[in-house]
Amino acid sequence: MIEILLILFAPIIGGFIYGFERVVRARMQNRQGPPLLQPFYDMFKLIDKQAFIVNPYHTILGIMHFITLWVVVAFIIMGQNLLYVIFLHLLSSIFLILAGFSVKSIYSHIGSNRELLAALAYEPILIMIAVGFFMVNGSFDIAVIREHDASIASLFLLFLAYLMVMPIKLKKSPFDATEAHQEIVGGVEIEFSGIFFEFLYMAKWLEYIFVYLLLMLFAGDNIFLGIGLFIGVFLLLNLIDNATARIKMKHLIKIVLSLGLTLGMCNLIGLAYV
């Protein structure tokens, strides 16, 4: 029962996390910041705006991106197979990339290109995390992983690699070249407007839920460790976001692939032989 409620209200919880994050980020810069419910005000405003449709496929692919992400989050909450979850999440990214390529805007194409390159950088790490969980717990099932002890000690290097993936997924500095708000004006989301942009906006909230639920898997059955990890990583990510500048796409791929893959492989080889 509580699982169904969590799945139904996942976008709203994500909205609260996003709103809280904007307040935290403002306080870190010694500002007052927007109210906590700001994302929902934005949402109600976007319902009321006039919407332009560039072409039907563009809007439908945007909505598909949102729905697939919701299914991904539902799968995690219900404790399904971790590999399914990761590949379904890749599918949702592919929908967004196709949406970006379906319009003529050059900024949209650049954004899609960058999304693809970013997927190239973080996807191997996500798969290695799944393999790491399999080697520790003997199963890809999230329900089984949640019943075992916390695996953060034996998967610590993979945890560090995952810390590098999180800013890419959440579009945070230094790894936010995929969105790049003033430079390529939001990348793939540039041609969405009105109520159709709202689906992308809510997909961003669901992305928060996805990323933090995956993080909490490192804590296993220890709920307090999970909440501690969530709070600690949340503050750390915002601190890094405020303290660093955006880096180029080329450097993003180099850093994430070289460092992340090395850390992940070391961890997997260590698990296999030690």
Binding site: P35, Q38, D42, F44, K45, D48, K49, Q50, F52, G186
Partner: protein
């Protein structure tokens, strides 16, 4: 069903365009978004994307080359929207008035809702202007304003569309028809 109109003034997203300004007003706009004045506490985001913004902040006296971009950006913004002219140049042309390369203010091309005077405007005045614009935004309807009338037809040579000189002054429309 609750009234959606009241949420318009709680999340205004700003599009900022520099139509040939000296950057004095642009710096003041950035200052009003920065920690000291903190426009974000009203929910303001500087989007930079016309398709998702509500408030069009324009600086500069509209140079000859920036007219088409100005009108293009205005038509790309979905209704309801408001336009704020920031600075003396944007309102009337300021010290550049009657120069050969300058078009004496943005209201020759697009309808303006709020004028903010000053050279350069202070952040307090910008915040005042934005809050005033929000009151107007709440009363606006979703119908299109006469933006498309400001366009001429784009000419095409050898299959290449030429958009130069498509912008039209407000008075010019009635002269032609």
């Amino acid at each position: 069903m609750f009234d959606l109109k009241k949420y318009r003034k709680k999340s205004p997203w700003i599009l900022h365009y520099n139509a040939g300004s000296c950057n004095g007003c642009d710096i003041e706009i950035l200052a009003s978004l920065a920690p000291k004045y903190d426009l974000e506490r009203f929910g303001v985001i500087n989007t930079g994307n016309p398709k998702q913004s509500d408030i069009f902040l324009v600086t500069g006296p509209v140079t000859y080359r920036s007219r088409e971009r100005l009108v293009e950006l205005y038509t790309q913004m979905p209704e309801p929207k408001v336009v704020i002219a920031v600075g003396s140049c944007t309102c009337t042309g300021g010290v550049f008035r009657d120069m050969y390369n300058v078009e004496d203010g943005i209201d020759r091309y697009i309808p303006v809702d709020v004028y903010i005077a000053g050279c350069a405007v202070s952040p307090e005045l910008i915040i005042d202007g934005v809050v005033k614009a929000l009151e107007i935004l709440e009363k606006k309807s979703k119908e299109m304003e006469k933006a498309l009338k400001l366009f001429k037809e784009a000419t095409s040579e050898n299959g290449v569309i030429n958009r130069r000189n498509v912008a039209l002054k407000v008075g010019e429309v009635h002269e032609e028809n």
